[in-house]
Symmetry: C2
Subunit: 247 residues, 2 copies
C-alpha cells in the first residue's frame, strides 16, 4: 500500500491509473477504522481495479463545541488494517493540504436536505461533508465511492452532490455493520464507558421494535421517520450516536 | 465536429478520449460567438488534442429582470463558425439536461469574491456561473479551460472554484479581443443601436486614458480598481457592457 499525503502526487497516480483503463474505488473515512469501514473496503476491492482509502478528520464538518479534538485517531492501527485489506493507496493529507488559508468557495444545501435528522442540531455539518467530498472526488476521480447506511442522511446528501453537480460517480451505500448485541459500529463507540456501552445496545433494540419508549431515560436527540427510514440520534456519556433502520 | 446534447453521451466520449491519453480543452460559451470566442478556441486547438466547446445560455446566472430572454442566440451561425475552427465536439444541452427539476445543491461564495465589480449589482450571478462551470467541468473533465480577460471577475471566481475544490484543471485567461475602435467584443454588442455603438467606443478610450470623465452623460454602473485592474460596467441602450484594463 502506498501512503500519499499530497494532492499533487495522488492526482498523478490516479491519472496514470485512469489512463491504464483501470477503475478506481474510493472509501472516504475519518480513520479510527472498524468493521464497518472494512466492509466498504472489501466491497470496493471486489468491484474496482484500484482501491483508495482516505483518512482525514475533516474540521469543516465539526461545529463549535463538537468532538473534533476528541475524535479518535489511531493511525498505526488504521495503517495495519488497510495493509491487511490490500488497499492500494491511502490518501492521508494534512489539514493545510486540504484547506490552505483564506476564504473559500463553499456549498449551500437546499432545505429538503437540511430540515430533518442530524442537520437540525448540527448546523454547517453537511455543508462541511459536501465540501470535503467534492474535493476528494476531484482529487481522486473515483468511478465508485462507498458510504455506510449508518450515516443515512450523509448518504442522501452525498448522492445529491454527485447528481446535482454531475460528478458521474457511482455511489454505493453499504449495510450497517453491527456488534453482536446490535449496536451499529462507529468510531465514536470507543468513547463510551462500560455503563454507556450497555445502554447503547438499546438503540438498535428500540429501532427493531419501532418503540422509542425503550429509550426512556436516555438523551434522545431525535427519533423520526424519513422516506421509509426510521432514524435516531442519542447522546450517551457525551457521545453522540446515530443509527437507522429501513421500515 | 460532433454535436452532442446529452450528458451521458459526451461523458462517454470524454472518457474514451482520456483513456487514449489525449488532453481535453474546454471553451465554455453562451453562444452568439464572436472573434473573442474564436481566439479562445484557437488557443485551445493549439494546446490540446481535443477541443470541446459548450453552448448553453445558463439561466441560473441571470437575475430577474436581466436579459436572459433577450440574450442573442444564433445556433446555425455558431455551428458554422465552430466547424470552420475545427472544433472536435460541441456540447449543446437543453436547460432540462443541465437543470432537471427539484431543489439542488448550490454554491456560497466568500465575500472577497463578491464585494466588488459586477457582483454588487448582479446578486446570484456568479453563484450561477460557478454552478454551471462545476457541472461542465465534471461532465467534460477538461485538462484546460479557456476564459476571456474581458469577464475579469468571472475569471477570478472560476479560478477560485478550480483551486478551492481541487478540480485539477489548468485555467487559461486570454486577452480581450477588440473591434477596430477598441470596443471589447461581446455577444451583447449586437443589442446596441447605431448611436449606442458610437457611444460604446468611449469605454475603452476612458480605460486607456484612466479618465472616467470621458464617459460623462453615460450610465456608468461602476468604475473601480481591483488588484491592479481597472474595471468598468456601463449601460447603453439598456445593454450592459463591461471591460477592463490591467494598470
Amino acid at each position: 500500500m502506498q501512503i500519499l499525503k499530497t494532492i499533487r502526487i495522488i492526482r498523478q497516480m490516479m491519472s496514470l491509473t485512469r489512463e491504464q483503463g483501470k477503475t478506481i474505488g474510493l472509501v472516504p473515512t475519518m480513520g479510527a477504522l472498524h468493521e464497518g469501514h472494512l466492509s466498504l473496503i472489501a466491497k470496493a476491492k471486489n468491484e474496482c481495479d484500484v482501491v483508495v482509502v482516505s483518512i482525514f478528520v475533516n474540521p469543516t464538518q465539526f461545529g463549535a463545541g463538537e468532538d473534533f479534538d476528541r475524535y479518535p485517531r489511531d493511525f498505526e492501527k488504521d495503517r495495519l488494517l488497510l495493509e491487511r485489506s490490500e488497499v492500494d493507496y491511502l490518501f492521508y493529507p494534512s489539514t493545510e493540504e486540504i484547506y490552505p488559508v483564506g476564504e473559500m468557495i463553499e456549498f449551500k444545501l437546499p432545505s429538503d436536505l437540511l430540515d430533518w435528522g442530524c442537520a437540525k442540531s448540527r448546523p454547517g455539518h453537511f455543508e462541511g461533508v459536501v465540501r470535503v467530498c467534492a474535493k476528494l472526488f476531484n482529487i481522486i476521480t473515483p468511478h465508485k465511492v462507498y458510504f455506510g447506511q449508518k450515516d443515512y442522511q450523509q448518504a442522501v446528501i452525498v448522492k445529491s452532490l454527485i447528481s446535482d453537480l454531475d460528478f458521474g460517480i457511482e455511489m454505493k451505500i453499504c449495510p450497517t455493520v453491527r456488534e453482536v448485541d446490535g449496536l451499529a459500529m462507529s468510531s465514536r463507540n470507543r468513547g463510551l464507558s462500560r455503563e454507556g456501552r450497555e445502554k447503547a445496545k438499546m438503540i438498535y433494540k428500540a429501532l427493531q421494535a419501532r418503540d422509542s419508549s425503550i429509550l426512556d431515560g436516555l438523551d434522545v436527540e431525535y427519533w423520526e421517520e424519513r422516506d421509509g427510514v426510521l432514524l435516531i440520534a442519542v447522546k450517551i456519556d457525551g457521545v453522540r450516536l446515530i443509527d437507522n433502520i429501513v421500515l
